[in-house]
Amino acid sequence: MTMRYVQEFRDGAAAQGLVARIEAAASRPVNLMEVCGTHTVSVFRHGIRGLLPPPVNLLSGPGCPVCVTTNADIDKAIALAQQEGVTLATFGDMMKVPGSYQSLQQAKADGADVRVVYSPRDSVRLARDNPHRPVIFFAVGFETTAPTIAASLLEAQRLGVTNFYVFAVHKLIPPAMIALLESGEVRIDGFICPGHVSVIIGSRPYEPIAKRYGVPCVISGFEPLDVLQGIEMLLRQTAEELAEVEIQYSRGVRPEGNPLARELMYRVFEVSDAGWRGLGCIPGSGLKLRPEYRAFDAEQAFPVEPPPTKEHRGCLCGEVLRGVITPPECPLFAKACTPEKPIGPCMVSSEGTCAGWYQYGPRS
């Protein structure tokens, strides 16, 4: 990757020009939702909110995979990790997410073998290097991550690695956006659609959102100029009362997406219903292993009965994930709930909305 490409998208003068155009286009109050946690971080890290005129309100959405993982799924991952002789591998952000009773980090401190990996392929390697130890990959993520999990599983199959398992709680983004609109809880005047997810799925899955619900969608990149331009494109649509799907992030996203990656994903997974924190069960919003890959299914191989789930008292992560409140409106924010002692997952993940407000914003 060339960093010059990044630098160009952080140019101060170009940013000022976009801000001026946003100011000119912002005639009435609008709520724009950045669906993806990476956008949320970019907005904070580059101080974008402070550059926007008052009518433009940014809402953070449910696009942080760690945050939308339910307590039930975390409890199950912990129960899997606590099986005698089992290794559970997962992405670093999952370690600190509190389940009903504890986090994977605490389970690890109590003796469970939990490893952080940076790529699902590392967990296949871990399984190959420890052939007598079942290695379960706790797979969390959206359409961006699922193809890489599928590829890792197929690699394990090709290499004859029989002690590699997947506990998959993958989720799909467009059904969650539709669920938000269906609930009618928050007025959303435009979606800043996720760049990386769209590299895989393309722009077409957002068409129903624009057509049926009349909400403009712009797929944006993650550099500050990308985000500002995405906002400007949405404002132009709302001013002209259009509702279309546009691609700002054209250097990464094609309308048809990445068919190869999708083929890989759907060879291994099939669409299922999925439980989301804050949004409940959304039909057709998850991925589960196809029957022919059952041998890799950790839930089949290690039937565990986690204790009954319970929610964290007072935690408003669900409301934050639906854009109903901003984190400082939660009574626990920055008081009982901090990144060191998180009560809800939105304070844990580096892409969590609460963590973003805590790390980069005012804490009161």
């Binding site: 990044v6 101080g47 504890q102 009560i343 580096s350």
Partner: protein, 341 residues
Amino acid sequence: MAKASKILLAHGSGGRLSHDLVAKEFVPPWQNPILDQLNDSAVFSLSADGSGPRLAFTTDSYVVKPLSFKGGDIGRLAVCGTVNDLAMVGAKPLYLSASFVIEEGLPLSTLRAVVRSMREAAAEAGIQIVTGDTKVVERGAADGLFVNTAGVGLVPAGLEIGGDRARVGDAVILSGSIGDHGIAVLSQREGLEFEAAVESDVAPLNGLVAVMLAASPNVRVLRDPTRGGLATSLNEIAAQSNVGIAIEETTIPLNDSVWAACEMLGFDPLYVANEGKLVAVVAPEDAEQVLAAMRATRYGEQAAIIGEVVAEPAGKVLMRTAIGGTRIVHMLVGEMLPRIC
């Protein structure tokens, strides 16, 4: 959720949990006026009336993994880290101790390489290692080799450097690019090898400090932004001096490859560790001459004024971003990279 009642890796991150651990578990039971200074080294007088030069005393343990990395190893780190802790209170470092906790099975050649690298670093810093200790533990009870060093140095009479001395209007100077050490170590971590043309910046900074102190009597604060990075050091200064610090993102030196690695891994370079950099708060009228003196030295070539001390908001660090936005730069929370020093 149950309260964390065990030590977590994040307690060693250099961020907030580390601070809390020191403030709650160590300072109260041991309390005394010297400990309460909470600077990089303890500074105290040996004479009853407090006159004459004062002694600076510090210690640090090194548990970096891997033991050797691009640009240095645990030995160079162990000498430089302690030399720098002495230098950051204005002391001329003199003598170090060295203690080794060695895991059974460590190749003797590895130990010899570390010892040799300590000798070279000591020679460069102009100090001597004058006492030491060795312990060997069973296989599995340590990760190859842990090293502890302690050091003493002399603070010239009348020289006062401390985190509580920043004043509104002072310039904030950074001695060079940030994040090199953290990324160099990380790039060689098992399971995460990636090609990064990044070398650790681990270096003794006492020579640079001597040049700065010769250039101006108004160097007020010195800090080496190690674990927790530049963001954490600036927050410590803002809190100790009860001032605000305003910095400009575009003035902070950053190597392209460090930037690339941070972008790829999702790290903010402001929080990535350094082992051969310092941040200084200097009276505004002397800032340019201190900067010029720094730039004439090997470890200060890329020095830059990155911001200034402001009145409001007291205790906070604000950064104007490259696109003209403003954000608060908080202290590191949680753990970023374990065992980088």
